[in-house]
Structures are given as C-alpha cells and as structure tokens.
Assembly symmetry: C2
Homo-oligomer: 205 residues x 2
DNA sequence: GTCTATAGCTCGATAGAC
DNA sequence: GTCTATCGAGCTATAGAC
C-alpha cells in the first residue's frame, strides 16, 4: 500500500504501518498488541522500537495517512478540472475521487473513521489538523461550485460539507468494491446529494 | 438512562450497562477493562459476574440497546402519522426522530456506531439481527412515502436507506445537542436529502 | 536492523467468605 | 448481591547480544 520506499528501514516502516492499519481497522486500537503488529509485519515486537517510539507514534501516522491519501486524490482531481466545469461536474468529481481513495487505501481510511474517536487525546489532537485541512478543501470546492452557479441558496455549505463527508465515509461499513462498482456508487450518491429524493414539483416538510 | 427497573439486581444491571456504554463509546471495546466498568457502576469487578457471564455478554446488550432505542422511537412516530401524510412529512418525521433518539441515548447509540466493527465476530453477528430489523423499518417508510407519491423514480431505495442511516449516524461525531438544536439539524438534513444541493433547473453530472 | 529475554503491570475470570 | 484474593495470561517497553 505504501510505495516508493528505498532502503531497508523505509521498507520495514511501511510494512509496520500497513500491518497496523489493517489490524486497527479490524480490531480497534486497544485490542491490537504490538506483538501482533510485529508478527503481521514479519518481525518481533522488540524490533518495532527501532522504527517507532511507541504504539501511539504508530497510530498517529496511520490516522494522518488515512486522511492525507484522500485529500491528495480529491485535490489533484479538482485542480485538474476545466474552468468551465459546472457545479454538478465539480461535485461529482469530488465525490467520485473521495470514494475511490477511500476504497483504494481502505485499511488506512477505515482505521481512521473507526478508531479516531477512541485513541488517546494527544493522538486525536494530532490528527485534527489534517482533518481540518481536508474539510477546508471541501469548503473551497463548494465555493468554486457556487461561483459557477446552480447551488440552492437554502443549503448551508458547512452542514452540507459535514453531511457529505460523513455519508461517504459511512459507505466503508457496507460497500464492497470487489462485488460492486465504485463509479456506480459515486453516481448514486451524487444523484441523491445533488438532486434529492423528492420530485421537484412539491416542496418538502 | 435505563429506567423502569424495580429490584436491586435490575438496578445494578442497568448501572453496569450505562457505565459500559459510556466507556465503550469513549475508549473503544478493547481498551475498557471490567475493572473500570465496575468502578463506574459503583462496584468491584468480581461483582459483575453475578449479572453478566462475560465482557462479551455486556457488549452484546449495549449494542442491541443502541439500535433498539432508535428503532422504537422512529417506529412509534411513523405509526402515529396520519394516512394523508406526504412523502416529505413522513421522511422528515423519520429523520427527526432518528436524530432525537441518537442524542437522547448517545452513549448507547454512539457506542454502537463506533465499536460495532471491532467486537468479536459472535458479538457482531448477534447485533446484525437488530440492525437488519431497523433497516427494514426504513424500507417500509420509503414504501409508504412512495405510495403517497412524489418520490423520484431514479433514486434507489436501498442506496438511499443506507446513505440516510449512515449520514444521520455520522452526526454523532460532530454535532453537539447542548450547543445546537436537534430540530434544526433535522430540518437541515431533510432539506438536503429530499431537495438536494442543486437548483432544480439544471440536470446534474 | 533485528533478535532474545524480561521487568513491571494489567487483564478476564474464578473461588469462596459474608 | 457484593466482597476479597488470586490464577494464568498477555501487555508495553527496555536492555543488550549479534
């Protein structure tokens, strides 16, 4: 999952992080011991301390990577879009790339979604910076979409951003990218988030 | 949180479950020891075994209650609605009552959302039954809404149900019912889910 | 860089007094 | 019903050989 590494230390570091991400995702933070992380990474528990100062140092890096991999993919995709892109096109691209990154790096992203609320305070605080940056990216996507026209004025951007990220991340709990097509999932979520459930003739509530 | 109990055993049981739900929510399953559950419930760890056979037996009950409390509130609210209720009214009622129950019993509901993916297999399997029942309730709400007319045919009910439950549950991670109004949150989510983000003149994607 | 060995601690669970 | 006491196991982290 982590690529582009060169020397032995970098390779071992990456193996430890990959192993930890997968185990944290499946069993939570507290249930995963350094012994099983080491075993999954192909070494003994004592050797972990050559690469990381503590269990907390490992989880900090796993959590940050879980956000940063999504951030980078969405950012790159949005930056590459034409100036003339419509609001619908921008949002569809953001949703699709968020979902693609979510499932491409699912051990890291799912570990983040699942254990963020359960790690020690200092760990959570460290990850908060990265989370805020990703939320800010979505605010800028919404601003750009608004400039291109077509957004309903009654929808609060901040609420929409939180709802969008929350609903997309929740797909990690049930969607299977092997059985089903992420592209179709993105189309389906875009359809609902942009167009809503109701026919547009009647006013809701 | 758990009320209507009578004798000493029932009271102690309820205190144990309340304590466990709050601790599981905050620290996850693996990091919470029976000793701290017992302390939070006002007893010693050995005493827990008079009420529960194991740590797993406690978490099974916490997880089930987290779904059942929401199920019951939503079911009651929907059943009480007039036959002439519109699709928008039905969905708003479902969304509002789901959110209200989510925050009224937040230790149980949040514990469920957070640790479901990390508990032992048999525990997760036990909770799956209750989850399926709640999803079925939402399918019946969507069917009833469709009969009353006004739903876009292009929206898949199954995808919408998963997205709705996922996005509502995700509010547990950021919404503060003390600082803000759950009613307003429900209005805001209903607005987006039923009407979408875009102006209805343009077609999306 | 990775190993073995282990210190010091906490865990879930049980047994038996009251 | 709740207590105390304890078993055997597993935990994070460290020390030092290789």
């Amino acid at each position: 999952m982590l690529i582009g590494k060169k020397d032995k230390a970098d390779i071992s570091r990456a193996r430890i992080l990959d192993a930890a991400a997968g185990l944290f995702r499946q069993y939570g933070y507290g249930q995963v011991s350094l012994r099983v992380i080491a075993e999954a990474a192909g070494m003994k528990s004592g050797s972990l301390y050559y690469h990381f100062a503590s269990k907390e140092a490992i989880v900090v890096e796993v959590l940050d990577l879980g956000i940063e991999m999504v951030h980078q993919k969405v950012d790159t995709a949005i930056c590459a879009m034409s100036e003339q892109a419509s609001a619908g096109e921008l949002l569809h691209a953001g949703i699709l790339n968020h979902l693609q990154a979510l499932f491409a790096f699912s051990d890291y992203t799912s570990a983040n979604v699942r254990i963020y609320g359960q790690v020690p305070d200092e760990v959570r605080k460290a990850n908060r910076r990265v989370r805020r940056r990703y939320e800010a990216l979505w605010m800028s996507i919404l601003s750009r979409a608004e400039e291109s026209g077509g957004l309903r004025a009654s929808v609060d951007h901040d609420a929409f951003k939180l709802m969008l990220i929350g609903s997309l991340n929740a797909t990690l709990e049930w969607f299977d990218p092997v059985k089903d097509d992420v592209q179709k999932l993105a189309d389906s979520y875009t359809e609902i988030l942009l167009g809503g459930l109701l026919n547009h003739v009647e006013s809701n509530v």
